[in-house]
């Protein structure tokens, strides 16, 4: 009796989980299958759940019409330069907050955390005006420099650096190390998992960022992928075959990254929640 009850509850659990998983998958399925349909088939109602034939050339067409080569190149450039900045500034900043003694350290750190609390939309207008003063509107600077410092990442890395005992530093000093050498030769190699976490957040953030690049860019030449895709939507408003193909192209790189490093990514997000 007990055994049957146990199996029944397991059955219900799997049923609910599978139902949920199907709901999560269906929009992706629908995007990909729409992307390979003919325009005529795509607007049939009731829709065909499996494409009658696969028009792979839709991807090439979307790639060309949406100028995707340009957008992806721009986005990769923005994402990796931003990442370099984020890593550099976070490593140095976290070290200062975790291992150096100086007056006003805690006040500075707390006020930085306070600034982190201010929601992004508050920055749109003044950020735009500051960039205008600098003459940076519609330049890569505007898309990269403001995002090369992340207080959140400094916070994560500082927690990690603090967990590494100071005795290590004292031993390193005896061996003739200064702060700079100690940081790069000993601390950084010990922090690889945390740095991977930070890199993942940074890359995903750059790839998906929208509102800021929407506001600070005007020309196709420097536009990153999400803004390009959004304008493609406005141009093509009802051509869902091309739009689905373009959307598929835009999500593939990130989904590849996700499948390559999913354990790392999921545990990064989980950790960020517990520590935050």
């Amino acid at each position: 009796m007990n055994k049957i009850h146990f199996n029944l509850s397991k059955f219900v659990i799997y049923l609910l989980l599978i139902l949920g998983a199907v709901i999560m998958i269906v929009p992706f399925y629908w995007m990909i299958t729409t992307a390979v349909k003919t325009p005529a088939e795509s607007i049939k109602f009731p829709p065909t759940l499996w494409p009658s034939h696969f028009v792979w050339s839709n991807f090439a067409k979307a790639w060309k019409e949406a100028n995707f080569g340009r957008y992806i190149l721009n986005t990769l450039f923005i994402a990796f330069t931003t990442l370099a900045g984020v890593l550099f500034s976070s490593i140095l900043g976290a070290y200062a907050f975790a291992k150096l003694q100086f007056k006003g350290r805690n006040i500075l750190f707390i006020s930085m955390l306070g600034i982190m609390m201010i929601p992004m939309p508050v920055y749109i207008v003044p950020g735009y005006l500051v960039l205008m003063k600098l003459g940076w509107i519609d330049t890569f600077y505007a898309l990269i420099i403001p995002w090369t410092v992340s207080v959140f990442n400094i916070f994560l890395l500082r927690q990690h650096f603090k967990s590494i005992p100071n005795e290590l530093y004292e031993a390193a000093v005896l061996d003739g190390c200064n702060h700079w050498q100690f940081l790069w030769k000993i601390l950084v190699p010990l922090s690889k998992p945390m740095l991977v976490t930070i890199s993942i957040f940074s890359l995903i953030g750059s790839w998906n960022s929208f509102i800021w690049p929407l506001v600070v860019t005007n020309s196709d030449k420097i536009r990153p992928i999400q803004v390009g895709l959004a304008y493609f939507m406005q141009e093509q408003s009802t051509n869902y075959v091309l739009l689905s193909a373009a959307s598929t192209i835009s999500v593939i790189p990130l989904i590849l990254l996700f499948f390559l490093a999913q354990k790392q990514i999921i545990s990064s997000y989980a950790k960020s929640g517990i520590k935050g």
């Binding site: 659990i13 629908w30 729409t34 900043g93 939309p121 207008v125 989980a270 929640g273």
Partner: protein, 309 residues
């Protein structure tokens, strides 16, 4: 450590300080100043004291946008919270294929909101959309989703309920946000659940607690710091919704009949369509104050109930 430390610290913190100063601190001060000016395309024209803020109080469109934002938050946050917790609990029952399920639920989190908006606009299509096809198949009434301006309470009661409620168009955005944001909270909850040691449950069982009792008396209190974090983050995020409105509603965005206009979209529209930087900055500060107040309220309410180990 050495006395020379402050010099090293200054050098190490230089990039951080410069970027924060120029792109965070100064803009915030600047926004505060701008919010007291009439400030259009030609720059500041007049110092007008609190006029922008007073105008906000009398701005009917702002109040509607704020109401819509509250509705969006009021529906998306609890739905997301409850479903995510439920799925995390199911996943925590030592199921096979945990990794596969977790991956599937998490996939929308790393997918961009722009691609998701395109796909959902297509799924919600009133004539050719997948959702109406499914409803049709199940012999349920089809809907016009993003084009429906009537409130959901109005629709469900045939107009006999005194409150109209959020429009079905706004609810369509709510459902999409739950779909997209769920996986993040599932992962956070799951990590929290896995942190609860088994011996608490063993002890509860020995004391004769059933599953429901051990959920309320063991899981819920021990999970409360995580729940608090999830609640806070989901609320803050929900108040900043923008891209789906820009992408999926209208034209003009915020439609039909302004029922999906939210505060951040209204701010964007004021700044970059009407070029009213002063007014938009004042709106930004009002939004900030609202989010700050909500954060403090949630903290005070939950503080007594959150159980920290």
């Amino acid at each position: 450590m050495h006395r020379r430390d402050w010099l090293v610290a200054l050098l190490f913190l230089l990039p951080v300080i410069v970027v924060i100063l120029v792109f965070r601190f100064i803009p915030i001060l600047y926004a505060f100043v701008i919010s007291f000016y009439k400030w259009g395309i030609t720059g500041p024209t007049k110092f007008i004291w609190f006029s922008n803020y007073i105008k906000i109080i009398h701005d009917a469109v702002f109040w509607r946008a704020l109401g819509n934002t509250f509705y969006y938050s009021l529906f998306s946050v609890p739905l997301n919270f409850v479903i995510a917790l439920f799925i995390a609990i199911l996943l925590n029952q030592k199921v096979k294929g945990l990794g596969v399920f977790r991956t599937i639920y998490f996939l929308p989190v790393v997918t961009s909101i722009i691609a998701v908006s395109i796909v959902f606009k297509w799924i919600y299509h009133p004539r050719m959309g997948l959702l109406n096809f499914v409803l049709n198949f199940l012999h349920l009434p089809t809907q016009t989703w993003l084009e429906e301006s009537r409130g959901i309470f109005q629709m469900m009661t045939g107009g006999h309920f005194p409150i109209k409620g959020p429009s079905l168009a706004l609810m369509s955005l709510v459902f999409m946000s739950v779909w997209k944001g769920l996986g993040y909270n599932v992962v956070i909850f799951l990590a929290g659940l896995q942190n609860i040691p088994d011996y608490y449950y063993d002890a509860a069982r020995i004391d004769g607690a059933n599953r429901w009792q051990s959920f309320w008396n063991v899981t819920f209190p021990l999970l409360s710091p995580v729940s608090f974090y999830v609640l806070l983050m989901t609320t803050i995020t929900s108040f900043q919704v923008f891209a789906p409105v820009w992408m999926m509603t209208g034209p003009p965005p915020g439609g039909p009949l302004g029922t999906t206009n939210v505060v951040v979209y209204y701010l964007y529209e004021n700044a970059f369509t009407y070029i009213r930087y002063g007014y938009a900055s004042a709106l930004a500060f009002v939004l900030f104050m609202i989010i700050l107040t909500l954060t403090l309220i949630q903290r005070n309410v939950t503080e007594k109930k959150v159980y920290y180990e």
